[in-house]
Symmetry: C2
C-alpha cells in the first residue's frame, strides 16, 4: 500500500477549510439582527427545549453506549479471556465505538445550536424580504452540513491513523449508528408526538389556533422540528456517510494499492465540492429559493465530478472506479428528480390525490398508498441499475465507490435539508411574534422551497443507504471469512476446514429462512415506531388536559399565565426514548436469533431481506407521506374546494397518517438496517462458531 501521508494532509486541509468556513458562517448568522424581544423569548424556549431533549437523549445514550462498549470489550473481536485474544484489540474496538457516538453527538449538538440561532434571525430578516432571510436559513443549515461531514472524515481518518485497521471502522460506524438510532428514531417519535398532540388537543378539542402560546405542547412542537429534522437527519447522514466510508475502506484495504488513498481523496474532494456549492448557494437577481438550493446541489455535483477526474488523472487512480462513483452520484440525482415528480404539487400525482380526496378520506388514503407504492419503483430500479453498472466497472468495491459517489456531496444535501426546519420554525416565530402578513408570506415562500428540495435530498439519502447496505453485506461476508480463516488455521490434524463463503445462495433454505425473517423486520420496526407515536401522544394529551384544568387563567389567556411547556417536552422526550428502545432491541435480538439458528448463511439472507423490504418501505412511507402533505397544502392553496371544505378535511386526515410515515418510520428504517448490518458484521465470528442448523 502506498504512503498515505499526502492523502491525510489533503484531507486535513479540507477538514480545516470546512470547519473554518462553518465557523465563519456561524458567526455571520450570530451577527444578524435579533432585537425582537418576543421572538427572542419564544426562540429561547425552543432552544431550551431542544437542549432538554438532547441532554436526556445523550444521557440515555451514554448508558446504552457504556453497556455496549463493555460488551464489545468483553467479546469482540474475540472473547477477551480466550486463547489468542489481544486485549488491546478489544479495547481499541470499544474505544472506536465510543468515538463514533461522540463525534456524531458533537456534530449534532453544534449544528442544532446554530440552527436554533438561525430561526429567530431568519424570521426577523423576513421583514426585509426573501433574499436576506433565505441566506440566514441556508447558512444556518450549512453549518450543520459542513460540521457533520468534516467530523465524519476526521473520525475515519483518526481511526485509520491511530488504530490502522480498517475493520475497526465498523465499530466506529456502529457507534455512529447507535447515535443515529436514538437521534433519528427517537427524534422522529418526539417530533410527531408533539405535532399530533398539539393539533389534537389544541386545534381540534379546545378550538384554539395552531401555534397558540396557551397550548402547553406548542413549544414541544417547534422543538420537534429541530430535534427530529435537524439533529436526527444530521445523525442519519453522518451514519450513512461513515458506514459508506467504512465499507469502502474495508474493501479497499483488502485490494491494496492506491485504493485506500482514493477513498479518502474522493471523500475529501466531496467535502470541498460541498463548500463550493454552499458558497454559491445564493438567490440570483431573478432567482427563487428553490433555484438557489438546487444550484448548490448541481454545482457541488459538477465540481465533484471535475475534481475527482483531475485527481484520478494526477494520482493515477483507476478510471473505472471514478466511473462507479460518477454513476452513483448521477443516479442519486435521478432518484431525487423522480421523487420530486411524485411528491411535488406542480406535477400530476399530488393533484390526483387531492382530487381523490373529494370522494372522502378513504380515497385520500387509498390513492396515496397506491402512488406511494408506485413511486418506489424508479428508485429501486435506479439503485439496482447503479449497483449492476458499478459492479461491472469495479466489482464489489465498485459498488461501494458508487455509494461514496452518491454520498460525496452530502455536505450540500444536509445543508439543503436542515434549511427546511429552520425556515419552518421561522414561520412559526413570525406568526407567534405577530410580524405581519407580508413577513409570513415571505416565510411561507421559503418554507415551500424547503419542502420541494426535501424530496430530492430524501431520494439521495435513501439511495445512498441502499448502496451502503449492499456494501455492508460485502463487508459482513469479508468479516465472516476472516473468522473462518482463523478457525481453519487453528484446526487440529484431520479436522475438516470450514468452507470460505463465496456468497449466499438464495435457494439454500438456511439463507432463504434468513431472508423471510429479515424481510419482516423493517415492517415490524416501522409499526412499533408508529404505535409508539400514538401511545406517547396519548400521554401528552392527558398532560395538556391536566394543565388546562389545573393552571388557573390559562384557558382564558390571562396575562402572565404561562403553561408548563417543559412538562410537555419532558413527556415527549421520556416517551420517545421509552418507545424507541423496544423497537431497536427487537431488530438487534432478531439478528442474534437468526444468527444462532442458522449461522452466517442465515444472517446473510437476513441482511438481504432487511435491505429489500427496508428500501421498499422507506421509499413508500417517505413518498406517500410527502404526497399527502403536499396534497393538503395544494388544497389549502385554494384548489378542490380549498380550506374548510370536506376535501380539505379528507386531505388533513391523509396528512396526519403521512406524518409518522415520512418523519418517524420511513427515515428511521435506513438506520435500523445499518445498525443490524453492522451488528451482524461485528458478530460474524460468533455466528461462525455457534449455530443450530
Amino acid at each position: 500500500m502506498e504512503n498515505m501521508t499526502l492523502v491525510y494532509i489533503l484531507s486535513a486541509v479540507v477538514i480545516v477549510l470546512a470547519l473554518g468556513f462553518a465557523a465563519y458562517l456561524a458567526s455571520w448568522v450570530k451577527k444578524q439582527k435579533n432585537d425582537n424581544k418576543e421572538i427572542e423569548r419564544i426562540a429561547g424556549l425552543i432552544r431550551d427545549g431542544a437542549n432538554t431533549f438532547m441532554r436526556k437523549e445523550y444521557t440515555v445514550l451514554a448508558v446504552f453506549a457504556a453497556v455496549m462498549a463493555v460488551f464489545i470489550y468483553l467479546f469482540l473481536p474475540r472473547p477477551v479471556w480466550s486463547a489468542g485474544a489481544v486485549p488491546g484489540s478489544n479495547l481499541a474496538m470499544a474505544l472506536c465505538y465510543i468515538a463514533g457516538t461522540v463525534f456524531s453527538a458533537v456534530a449534532g449538538k453544534v449544528g442544532i445550536y446554530v440552527a436554533s440561532l438561525a430561526n429567530a434571525r431568519c424570521a426577523e430578516a423576513a421583514q426585509e424580504g426573501v433574499k436576506p432571510a433565505f441566506l440566514i436559513g441556508f447558512r444556518g443549515g450549512a453549518v450543520m452540513g459542513l460540521i457533520v461531514v468534516a467530523a465524519c472524515l476526521l473520525g475515519v481518518m483518526g481511526v485509520m491513523i491511530v488504530v490502522g485497521d480498517a475493520s475497526m471502522l465498523l465499530a466506529f460506524s456502529f457507534g455512529a449508528s447507535s447515535l443515529a438510532l436514538f437521534a433519528k428514531a427517537g427524534g422522529g417519535i418526539f417530533t410527531k408526538t408533539a405535532d399530533v398532540s398539539a393539533d389534537l388537543a389544541g386545534k381540534v378539542e379546545l378550538g384554539i389556533p395552531e401555534d397558540d402560546p396557551r397550548n402547553p405542547a406548542v413549544i414541544a412542537d417547534n422543538v420537534g422540528d429541530n430535534v427530529g429534522d435537524v439533529a436526527g437527519m444530521g445523525a442519519d447522514l453522518f451514519d450513512s456517510n461513515v458506514a459508506t466510508m467504512a465499507a469502502a475502506l474495508v474493501m479497499a484495504t483488502a485490494l491494496g494499492g492506491k485504493n485506500p488513498s482514493m477513498v479518502f481523496v474522493y471523500s475529501a474532494l466531496g467535502l470541498l465540492s460541498s463548500i463550493v456549492g454552499i458558497y454559491l448557494g445564493k438567490i440570483g437577481p431573478k432567482g427563487t429559493p428553490t433555484g438557489a438550493l438546487n444550484k448548490s446541489t448541481y454545482v457541488s455535483t459538477v465540481v465533484f465530478l471535475a475534481l475527482t477526474a483531475a485527481a484520478t488523472l494526477i494520482w493515477g487512480f483507476e478510471w473505472r472506479y471514478w466511473g462507479a462513483a460518477a454513476v452513483g452520484l448521477l443516479v442519486g440525482v435521478v432518484i431525487g428528480l423522480t421523487t420530486n415528480y411524485f411528491t411535488d404539487d406542480n406535477h400530476a400525482i399530488v393533484r390526483k390525490v387531492a382530487h381523490a380526496s373529494a370522494t372522502g378520506p378513504a380515497f385520500t388514503i387509498l390513492s396515496g398508498v397506491s402512488y406511494g407504492f408506485i413511486s418506489a419503483l424508479p428508485a429501486m430500479v435506479g439503485i439496482a441499475l447503479s449497483a449492476l453498472i458499478a459492479h461491472n466497472l469495479g466489482g464489489m468495491f465498485g459498488i461501494s465507490m458508487a455509494a461514496v459517489g452518491m454520498l460525496s456531496i452530502v455536505g450540500t444535501i444536509i445543508s439543503n435539508d436542515a434549511y427546511g426546519p429552520i425556515v419552518d420554525n421561522a414561520r412559526g416565530l413570525a406568526e407567534m411574534g405577530s410580524l405581519g402578513e407580508e413577513t409570513i408570506r415571505v416565510t411561507d415562500e421559503l418554507d415551500s422551497a424547503g419542502n420541494t428540495v426535501k424530496a430530492v435530498t430524501k431520494g439521495f439519502a435513501i439511495g445512498a443507504a441502499g448502496l451502503t447496505v449492499i456494501s455492508l453485506l460485502g463487508a459482513f461476508m469479508q468479516e465472516a471469512n476472516h473468522a473462518i480463516a482463523e478457525i481453519n488455521l487453528g484446526l487440529a490434524a484431520g479436522e475438516a476446514p470450514i468452507a470460505i463463503l463465496t456468497g449466499f445462495n438464495l435457494v439454500d433454505p438456511t439463507v432463504f429462512f434468513g431472508i423471510l425473517v429479515g424481510a419482516a423486520i423493517p415492517a415490524v420496526f416501522s409499526a412499533m415506531l408508529i404505535l409508539g407515536v400514538d401511545k406517547n401522544a396519548q400521554r401528552m394529551i392527558a398532560e395538556i388536559h391536566r394543565q388546562f384544568r389545573e393552571i388557573k387563567g390559562l384557558a382564558e389567556g390571562e396575562p402572565g399565565v404561562q403553561p408548563e411547556y417543559n412538562k410537555c417536552i419532558d413527556i415527549a422526550t421520556t416517551g420517545a426514548l421509552k418507545e424507541l428502545i423496544p423497537a431497536g432491541l427487537m431488530a438487534i435480538i432478531s439478528t442474534l436469533l437468526v444468527g444462532f439458528i442458522g449461522g452466517v448463511q442465515a444472517v446473510g439472507g437476513f441482511l438481504l431481506g432487511n435491505i429489500v423490504t427496508g428500501l421498499l418501505l422507506a421509499l413508500f412511507m417517505s413518498n406517500a407521506g410527502g404526497i399527502w402533505d403536499n396534497a393538503k397544502k395544494y388544497v389549502e392553496a385554494g384548489n378542490e374546494g380549498g380550506k374548510g371544505s370536506d376535501t380539505h378535511k379528507a386531505a388533513v386526515i391523509g396528512d396526519t397518517v403521512g406524518d409518522p410515515f415520512k418523519d418517524t418510520a420511513g427515515p428511521s428504517i435506513n438506520t435500523q438496517i445499518t445498525v443490524v448490518s453492522l451488528a451482524a458484521s461485528m458478530l460474524a465470528q460468533v455466528f461462525v462458531h455457534f449455530h443450530l442448523f
Copy 2:
C-alpha cells in the same frame, strides 16, 4: 420409476367419489325449500349478473388464452422452426396450457352455479333456525371445494397420462394461473367497484339504505360476492394447488423412484380427507357455526395425517417426506390461528384499533397499518421455519412436499371459504325479501362465523402460496439447467460450455439487480389494482347518477319502476377487465425485461424479490383489511360509542380502505407471483440464450 397404474386408479376412485359426493350435495341443495317469489326474483337477478360477468370474463380470457397458446406453440419449449424442434412437443405444450384454463373455468362455473342456488335457499332456511341454514350454506360451498380439487387432480393426472412429461405440467399450471389472474384480480376489482359505488352513491349521497332495490348498483354488489369471493377464490386455490403439484412432480420425476407416486397418493388422500371433513361439517347438539367449520378443518387435518402415514407404511414411501408434508400442514394451521388472533374481534388487536378510532380516522389507519405489518411476522417466520425444516428433512423436494401437505386439505378450505359469501348473500336476500328481524339475526350469526373462519383459510392460502413459489423457484432453476445442458450438448469443439446453475448468489450484482426490481413489482401491481377500483367506481357512480336522473319515478320508488341493474354490472365487468390487463402485463413485461437484461441469474433474483415482498404485502393487506372490517363490526355491535358515533365514522373509513386491500390487491398478489414464476420457468431457455449482461 415404478408403475403408476395403481396410483392412477386410486386417484381416479377418489375423483369419482368426490364428484359423486359433489353431485349429491348439489342436488340436495337444489331440493331445499325455495318458494319465496321475491327472494327468488332477486336471487335470479344476482345469478344473471354473475353469468354476465363470467361470460364476458371467459370471452376476454378466451382471446387472451388463444394468443398465448399461439405464442407458446411458436416459441416453446423451443422455436418451432428451429433445428431439432419437435412440433408435437410445442403443440402439446399449447394444448396443456389451454387445458389448464378450461379445467379451472369449468370448475369455477359449476361452483358458482351451485353457490348462487344455495344463497336463496339458505335465506329461506334461516327462518327455521341456524342449523338448517348453516348446512345449506356449507354444502353449497362444499360443491365448489370438491369440484375444484377433483378437477385439479384429474387435470394433472390427464397431463401425466397423455403427455407423460412433468414439465408440461408447468404449461397446464400457467393456464390455471392465467385464469386465476382474471378471476381473482378481475373479480376483486369487480366486487369492490360495486361495493364502493353502491355505498357512496346510495348510502352517502342519496341517503337510501344499504341493499335498497332502487339502487342500480345493489345487484352488482351482490354479484361481486359471488364472482370475487366464490369464483375468484376457487380459481386462486385451483391455481396454487396445480402449481404445487406441478412443482412437486417436476422434482419427483427428476428424483425418480416412488416419489411421483407419493405426490399423487398424498394429493388423492388429501381430497379423501376433505370429503370426510365436509361430511362431518355439521353443527352438533351444542355446537356453533364456527365450531362446525373448524371441526371440518381439524377432522380433515387429522384424517390426512393418518391416511398418509398408513399409505407411507404400506407403499414404502420415505418417512422424511411424510414429515415434510406434516410440517407444512401443521404450520398452515398455526399460521391460520395467528391470523385469527390478529383479525378476530374476540382478541386484543381489533379492539385496540376500534379504540384508536375514537381519536379520529387517521388513528384507525395508523394503528391498522401498524398491526397489519406486525401480523406478517409470525406467518413469515412460520413459512421460513417450515421451509427450513422441510429442506432439512428432504431437500428442495421436501419443501414442495411441505407445500403439498399444506394444500392437501384445500377441499375443506375452499368449502369453508365459499360458505362466507353464500351466507353473506343470504343475509342480503333476507333483508331485501323482508324475512324479518329474527331471520336476519340468524343470517348475521352465520355471516360472522364465515368472517372468523376466513382468517384461518386466508392464512392457509398465503402460506401455501409461499411454499409453492419457493418450489417454483426450484422448478425454474431446473428448467434453466435443462436448457443449459442442451446448449452444452450442441457446442462445437473448443466452445466453452455454460456452467450449470447451482443457485443464485445474492451478492452477485446481477442477481441483486433482479431482487430489487422484483421486490417492487408486487407493490406496483397492488397499487394498479387499487387505483383500478377507484377509476372503475367513478364510472359506475356516474352511471348511478344518470339512472336516477333519467329513469322517471326511480328515486321516488314508484311501483314497477326498476333501475337498469345490468348497465351497472356491465360497467363493473368491462372496467374490471380493462383495469386488470395493464397490471398483469406490467408484471409479465417486467419479467421479460429483467430476463433480457440480466439472464437467468437476474430472473432468479427477480422471482425471489417478488416472493419476499409479495408475501409481506399479501399478509399485510389481507390482515389489515380484516382488522379494519372487524373493528367496524365491533363498533357496530355497540362498543366504543356504537353505530353513528364519530368512532363509528372513523371505523367505516378504515373499512373502506381495507376493502380493496383485503379483497382486491392482497389476495391477487399470490396469483401475480405464480404467473410470473411460471412464465419465467417456461421462458428459461430464451433467457439462457439472450441477455445483455
